[in-house]
Amino acid sequence: MTETSIKDFEAAIAELESIVKKLEEGDLALERSLALYERGVELSRFCHARLEDAERRIEMLNERGQLKPAPPSLTDD
């Protein structure tokens, strides 16, 4: 897997979307689509990790500071 660095969440999601688009457009060689898939999985994991991290941080702050709980829509998922 090409372990190209991922700049940040936005770069990751943008790249992920472009990868999905490419994959959806189809007509890629197996090798190429595999590479894209691998990169896509990597990016998706990165994004998930970042989101979890973000949620954890938000939650931590809320716990520490007795701030209002985040709206249900955020905690439910």
């Binding site: 994959l23 989101l51 949620e55 955020l74």
Partner: protein, 450 residues
């Protein structure tokens, strides 16, 4: 009021010239003068201007105050009232009269102080002490609130009450001072400076309750104004009521019409603070939450797109395609081989159907038959020949002229065997003869004839 310029001698002027020169002189020389006197002949014309005469025990001068200035007077001019008027001199040429064009007028008694006030105000203004740029914003939440005022009077109580109500744990530092009377200004100024030295005093209220202009006068003193200007913390002036504007008000960072108003300006209610902070906090929470959620949805949406989530399945489908092709390859090749095998097999059977041995046997039969016929034919031919010969040979045997010899006859030949000797005379003695017997011949010699 300086002396008029000396008129040159022997220079004869027309009245008009004189009047003009007087006018010019008066109008340039007496631009802003203060005149004290008693009002008389006060009369408002229908233009709205007030015409009156100012007089004292020895002299009088005509005067006018235009409607525009009249409006701003803090009192109503009436005959007999002693006033101090500010204005300039002008000349009414047709009558050769000069008159005072009044710009401002105060009841007498305030005049000197007012003059000092105005002069101070002008000076301080020129120094820039009133500049808007000097005005400091009030602290949003002062750690300590300085109050410079009298311990007596309602002002302090009002301030404390309001501050406590708005912000229960407000920390107040009070500098008690006298606020009127001799020395009050110095005390106030000192108080402002003393408060300024107390740490964490972030705002100072300087003021007192309402009173007469004389009562408020300490706040017009320069010393107070300068103390306010020099205060390290922003100062709110709260002197008297709304209509009284003091020097302190000009210099202060903020002017409050009353001490109570000043207290309200100093600190926002704590509840409002908390509400505001919590609202801000909620807003950032909501904003960041929404952002995270939208991101999360985006990530999930894109991660869940079939192109990505279904990728392994598609690879497997490719595998199936490859398998199908491989199978087709194998099947077709085997079929091709099978077709050939069957064709070859058919040909083989057909070739085997050509029985070379049988063919040979047929041929051999034909040959043998031919051979047999040949042998038979030649044998028959031989037999035929033999029979032919037998028959004729038998007949010949039967016809043999020598057959009688068997019975004992003999045939006598001449010696050369050409002639049969039928008579003895045919031969002579000594002559050779041949005798044919039944079996064999004899060669003999005639010994004698008979």
């Amino acid at each position: 009021m300086g002396p008029p310029a000396p008129i040159p001698t022997r220079r004869v002027l027309t009245v008009t010239e004189l009047t003009v020169r007087v006018r010019d002189l008066l109008e340039t020389e007496f631009i802003e003068i203060w005149v004290e006197g008693e009002l008389s002949n006060c009369r408002v014309w229908n233009t709205g201007h007030l015409y009156f005469t100012l007089k004292d025990s020895a002299a009088q001068v005509r005067a006018v105050i235009f409607r525009s200035a009249l409006r701003y007077l803090k009192f109503k001019p009436t005959d007999g009232l002693r006033v101090v008027a500010r204005g300039r001199l002008s000349v009414y040429e047709p009558k050769g009269e000069y008159q005072l064009v009044c710009e401002h007028m105060e009841p007498h008694g305030l005049g000197a102080r007012q003059l000092a006030f105005d002069q101070l105000k002008k000076r301080l203004q020129e120094e820039g002490l009133f500049d808007a740029s000097r005005k400091r914003p009030l602290p949003v939440l002062p750690r300590k609130i300085g109050i410079v005022t009298s311990l007596d009077g309602a002002a302090l109580r009002d301030i404390i009450q309001i501050l406590r109500r708005r912000y229960a744990n407000a920390h107040l530092v009070i500098q008690p001072t006298r606020v009127q009377g001799e020395g009050a200004a110095a005390e106030i100024a000192r108080g402002i400076r003393a408060i300024g030295r107390v740490p964490h005093v972030d705002v100072v209220i300087v003021g007192r309750g309402g009173g007469s202009i004389e009562d408020l006068w300490a706040f017009n003193e320069e010393i107070v104004a300068r103390a306010i200007a020099e205060s390290p913390a922003p100062v709110i002036s709260a002197v008297g009521h709304e209509t009284d504007v003091t020097m302190a008000d000009f210099v202060a960072d903020l002017r409050a019409p009353t001490p109570s108003a000043a207290a309200e300006l100093v600190v926002t209610a704590k509840d409002e603070f908390i509400g505001r902070i919590d609202s801000l906090r909620d807003r950032i929470g909501a904003a960041v939450g929404a952002r995270v959620q939208s991101r999360s949805q985006r990530v999930h949406a894109v991660s869940g797109r079939p192109a990505l989530a279904g990728f392994p399945g598609r690879v497997a489908m490719r595998g199936r395609h490859a398998d199908e092709l491989t199978h087709a390859l194998s099947r077709l090749t085997r079929a091709a081989l099978g077709t050939r095998e069957r064709r070859l097999q058919l040909l083989r059977r057909q070739l085997d159907g050509f029985d070379a041995g049988r063919r040979l046997a047929v041929i051999r039969t034909r040959l043998v038959s031919g051979e047999g016929l040949l042998a038979g034919a030649i044998a028959r031919r031989r037999l035929q020949a033999s029979a032919q010969l037998g028959t004729v040979a038998g007949r010949l045997d039967a016809l043999s002229p020598l057959a009688v010899l068997g019975r004992g006859y003999a045939v006598c030949w001449t010696g050369d065997r050409t002639r049969v000797v039928r008579a003895a005379s045919e031969v002579s003695a000594g002559e050779a003869i041949r005798v044919t017997l039944s079996r064999g011949e004899i060669e003999a010699k005639v010994s004698r004839t008979e």
